[in-house]
Each structure stands twice: as structure tokens, then as C-alpha cells.
Amino acid sequence: MTESDVTRDGVKGARPGREAVTGEQAGRRRRRRGRGEKAMVPDAEFSSYYGKPILNKPTWKPLDIAGYLYLGGLAGASSLLAAGAQATSRPGLARTAKLGASGAISLSLAALVHDLGRPARFINMLRVFKPTSPMNLGSWLLAGYAPLTMAAAAADVTGRYRVAGATATVGAAALGPAVATYTAVLISDTAVPSWHEGYRELPFVFAGSGATAAAGLALACAPVRESGPARRMAALGAALELGSFQLMKRRMGLAAEPYGLGKPRGLLRAAEALTAGGAALAACAGRESVAGGRARLLAAGAALLSGSAALRFGVFHAGVASAEDPRYTVVPQRERLEAGERSGRSDVL
């Protein structure tokens, strides 16, 4: 690991993090690969404690929690598609969306419980009603939403209790948008720089990403002649997702950097390409009603589904990376302090 040499004249080539001269020049020196994006903010000098992170990084397992964010978006937007399809008499689309919503929310609940340190105590989430905790509100939201999606799906599949099923579908559609967007508040309401600084735009990113995922599932599984709304939803969702994500990165300053480095960079590039490509493919496949349209819609659906998943994993990993490097905690806070000193500190709070 270490590249330093101990010679008679002392240690040569020691990395700054190992030298106990804190306050001089510390912090991890990053080496960017040639292909990497240019930093949006020039490298600022800062002090740290041997380059150690200030924050404790999230202990959440990526597959569970990024998966939870993804499936919540898929379910929430699917409920909207289900209600729309039900209202406009598209039974095939309605069934796909209802099954998708109930399946996705069941899986996401399973992921959430699996991630707990004490899964047997899951029900403690509903021990209190606590508006300051997005996870508590989310648990109550899911406690209302998940049964509705399951009732809607069960009534559709069995063909019984149609009125109750229709009511449940409408109820699920009313809660669906909240299920898709509250997860943005969930991760923004932390000290993790790359999550917290994006709290204004992240709900819109997740709303768009949920819409593309639900549209992708519908395109892949619903009958071709009923796929019109899903195609439009894919295009609108992709525009919302990609647009607000660009806006978010532009507005969040230094905290945007982890989105363009390492693993998150690859995931987010893939997410952009898959989402934009999937939406475009869906739009084209709709225009030409030729043979092979089915296959194209299937490919478009798969691209949209995986694009949305890649986005959630990219956002998750970028946040963890920003918590692991003290630079993203110290530099913006230091700048804020200096700006506050200049303007009398009145506007800081």
C-alpha cells in the first residue's frame, strides 16, 4: 500500500495523510484518471485529522437500501399507471401496473426489513408517530400503501370484489406519488453532503426515475396496443429525471463532485444512457406500428427499468463516497463560515 521509503535522510515519498503535520496541508490527495470529469470547483486546501472522515458513513447495505429506493419509485408510479389504465379501460396495462406495484412494494419492504440490525423489531417503526423522522413517516405511509396495492392486485387477478379493488387502486394511486418521492427526503435528511445538498431537486429526480421505471415495466409486460400512456410517461419521466438531476448537480457545488467520480460516475452515465435511450426507443416503437414493435418495446422497457435502478445505486454510492472523504464536509462548512464572517453571520442560519 504505502509508497514511502525510509532512508538515512528520513522518510521519502510519504503521503500527506500519514504525516502528522496537520494544519499544514492535509487531506487525501486524489488522483484522477485521465478520463475523469474536471472538478467543478477548484481544489481547496483544507485541514483534517489524518485524512479521516468526519462523518460516520451510512451502514446501509447498498443492495437493500438502493434497491428499496428503486422499488419504492417503481411501485408508486405503477400505482398511478394502474389507476389511469383502470379509468381509461386498458385492462392489460392496469393488470401489469397493479401486479408491478404490489410486487415491487413487497420486495422493497423485504429489503427494508432485511437491512435492519434487528429485523425482528421491524414493528418498532410503528411504535410512535414522529413527523421529524422521514423513516417513521415512510413506515406509516407504506403501512397504508402496501395493503392497498395488494388488494388492488388481488381483486384484479381473481376478478372478484371489483368495486373494492377499484377503490383500492384509486387509494394506492393517491399515496403512490408520496411513496415514490419521500425516499428522496429520507436520504436528504442526513449530514451526508452529496445527499443533503441536493434536497431541493432530489425528489424530482426520484419522481422522474420512478415514472421511467413504471413505464419500463408496463412497456415490457403490457399489451402493445395499450402501451401509449406508458410511452408518454417514459418520455416525460426521462425528461424530468435527467433535467432535474443536471440542475441538482449544478446547484450543489462541491458536493456534486462524488457524482462524477469512480463507481457512481459509471452508474450514473449508464443511467443517463439507458433512460434516454429507452425513452427514445419507446417513442420510436410507438410511431411505427410494424412487426417487431413488441421486441422493441421489450428492449425499451428493460433499458428504462435498469436505467432507473442504476440511478438509485449511483446516487447511493455517491452519498457514501461523500461521507468517506472529510473534504466534502470541511470545505463547504469552512466556506460558509468565512462568508458568514464577511457578512456578519446573520444570513448563515
Partner: protein, 335 residues
């Protein structure tokens, strides 16, 4: 923003226990850690581990300094930071070794000049090390240009924030505010969701991997209940860790800082004592001798829930646009 919500989520809050629902609560208790007298003995770390029966969490040698504990975590509730710097502590004269001073020449000048010997007689560069170097300006004392060094030692701990993000985001109510104004985890309630871990702006609370639950300093809630001081403060041999009512500690700290400034330690500053800061002031605050980030502390932490109303507003707007987007998708009939 009105005062009511402001005081619930951020800003000064003179009565934390009262705001949490306690009537006739005792005064808010806390720590004042005066790092200028810390000697890095780690008695606090040991006392904390012993009293609270905290499991061992790795015996690693970091190789970076005498600090092998590295930071606060689920099984480390006190952490002594160790920093070596090429700076004098205050206004001392640099150069403790006088090998290059010609004592006979100096003796010969006795009585002829009131100052110490002319550096030109012994040091190559004339004028580089004036006698009685003033505070702040450090002159090289050795031929190779080395300067004075200082060791900073500081015992870090949970800050028991006035507005504690860990407590705010805890979905089970496992984290709660005690009558002493401190923040404590109820381990029989915690379901290990891990939300408090990234919420803490100081990186204090963490999840214990084998146990699954979140743990942090309780400010020895069990000892406080029977009128005893926390184990770390009890064990501290230099009174670097002082425990008491927060108001009293703040007064004492202000005096301490003034005294250090008068002694020429101009670096001394208080950290976390200001009720107007981003977390409404800490229940455990510090006297530091350098910038907070040098000790691994965030320079300007803000409780994340300060922005919560704004977060929900944006989420509601996003949910509405998702619903609108879906409605728009169904506007036209299929072709």
C-alpha cells in the same frame, strides 16, 4: 419561520428538557473538555469502556500517531485525538536545546548586555533568531531549519446537541432526550435501522456490526441519576474533562479562554458553546487550540432537520408533478 418551529428544529433553545416535555427538570448537564490541559493519557477512554461495559472493537496500530483509537463509534464513546504540529503552544521561546550556544562567550558578556547572547556568535545566519522571539513569529532554531513543535491532545465525545439530528430522525423513538438535556439510546427499542448514523453531523453514533443496534455516549445516564459524575470526567487526572451544569461550564470556559489569550496562546477558542450555532449549541463543548477540523471536528455543523420543512415542501411538489405527469400520459387516446 416562527419562533416555535425554529426552536423545535434549530436555533437557540434555553430549555431543552422543557421543550422535550419535562416539567421541573434539573439544570442541563454537560461536558466542558479543556484540551489545553489534556495530557493524552486516555484514562477517559478506559473508564468509559469499563463503566459502560463496551466491547473491544479492534486492536489496530494505525502508524499515523499515538492515536490507535482513530475515532468515535459504536464501541468507542470517548476518543483521544493526538496531533503533532510544527508550532509553539504559546509565546514560549523556541529552542529547548542550547547545544549551539557558546556558554563561555555568553559568560564573558555577562553584565555588558541585559539580553541573551548575540546569535551571530554561534549561528551561521545572523539575525535569523532574535533573542526572546515574540509570540506568533517562530524562528528556526536548528541549523536544518526545524522549528518548535507542539502536541495537541483532545478527548472527543458525543456532543449531546441542543438539536440532535440522530434523535430527530430516529423512527422508533429509541433515541430520547433525558431530563438532564442529554441524548440517550434505549437499546431495548432500537431496531438497528441505522438512520441516526449518517444523520449525525459529527460522526459520533454508529451501528455495532455483530449486535445490529446503534450505540453512543449516554453521558453516563445511570450515574447522573444518582448524582454521580460520568466515568470519564471522574477518571480525568487533569480536569481536562469537566462535568456540570452547562451554564456554569460556559462561564468557566469563557474565563479559561481569556486566561489563555492573556498567556499568549492566541489559538485558543471555544467550540460548540454558542447556542446560536447550527445545532443550537452542544451539551458537550470544547476549548481547542486550533481549527476544529484539525481535531476531526466539523467547522460549522448544521442539524440536517433544520431544512426538513423545506425538504417536505419540495417532496410534495415533486409528488404533485409525478401525478400531473401521469395524468398527462393518459390525456391522448392511443393510436
Amino acid at each position: 419561520m416562527t419562533d416555535d418551529t425554529g426552536n423545535l428544529l434549530f436555533g437557540p433553545q434555553p430549555d431543552v428538557a422543557g421543550a422535550a416535555g419535562y416539567r421541573g427538570a434539573p439544570p442541563r448537564m454537560g461536558f466542558f473538555t479543556d484540551t489545553s490541559v489534556c495530557i493524552g493519557c486516555k484514562a477517559c477512554e478506559v473508564a468509559c469502556k469499563e463503566w459502560n461495559a463496551i466491547p473491544e472493537d479492534g486492536l489496530e496500530l494505525t502508524g499515523m500517531s499515538y492515536d490507535n483509537t482513530q475515532g468515535l463509534g459504536a464501541s468507542t464513546w470517548r476518543h483521544v485525538a493526538f496531533i503533532e504540529q510544527r508550532k509553539p503552544l504559546g509565546g514560549q521561546e523556541p529552542g529547548v536545546g542550547h547545544e549551539d550556544v557558546d556558554v563561555f562567550a555568553a559568560a564573558g558578556q555577562l553584565g555588558t548586555s541585559p539580553s541573551s547572547p548575540d546569535p551571530g556568535t554561534t549561528v551561521a545566519e545572523v539575525g535569523s533568531a532574535p533573542a526572546g522571539a515574540p509570540a506568533g513569529a517562530i524562528s528556526p532554531v536548528a541549523p536544518d531549519g526545524r522549528t518548535e513543535l507542539r502536541w495537541l491532545m483532545s478527548s472527543d465525545v458525543c456532543k449531546h446537541c441542543t438539536h440532535a439530528a440522530c434523535l430527530d430522525v430516529c423512527p422508533t423513538g429509541s433515541l430520547f432526550r433525558t431530563e438532564f438535556g442529554t441524548v440517550v439510546v434505549q437499546e431495548d427499542i432500537c431496531n438497528g435501522c441505522g438512520y441516526c448514523v449518517p444523520a449525525c453531523p459529527y460522526g459520533v453514533i454508529d451501528q455495532r456490526p455483530d449486535d445490529g443496534r446503534a450505540w453512543k455516549c449516554t453521558l453516563c445516564y445511570d450515574r447522573l441519576g444518582v448524582g454521580m459524575e460520568p466515568a470519564c470526567a471522574k477518571a480525568c487526572p487533569t480536569d481536562s474533562i469537566q462535568f456540570g451544569p452547562l451554564d456554569e461550564l460556559r462561564d468557566r470556559a469563557a474565563v479559561g479562554v481569556a486566561r489563555l489569550h492573556a498567556a499568549g496562546v492566541t489559538d485558543a477558542r471555544l467550540y460548540g458553546e454558542d447556542p446560536g450555532d447550527g445545532v443550537g449549541g452542544d451539551g458537550a463543548f470544547f476549548l481547542l487550540l486550533d481549527e476544529p477540523e484539525v481535531y476531526g471536528l466539523p467547522p460549522d455543523p448544521v442539524v440536517t432537520t433544520r431544512d426538513m420543512p423545506d425538504m417536505w415542501r419540495h417532496a410534495v411538489a415533486a409528488a404533485a408533478s409525478l401525478a400531473g405527469l401521469a395524468a398527462l400520459s393518459f390525456v391522448r387516446r392511443p393510436r
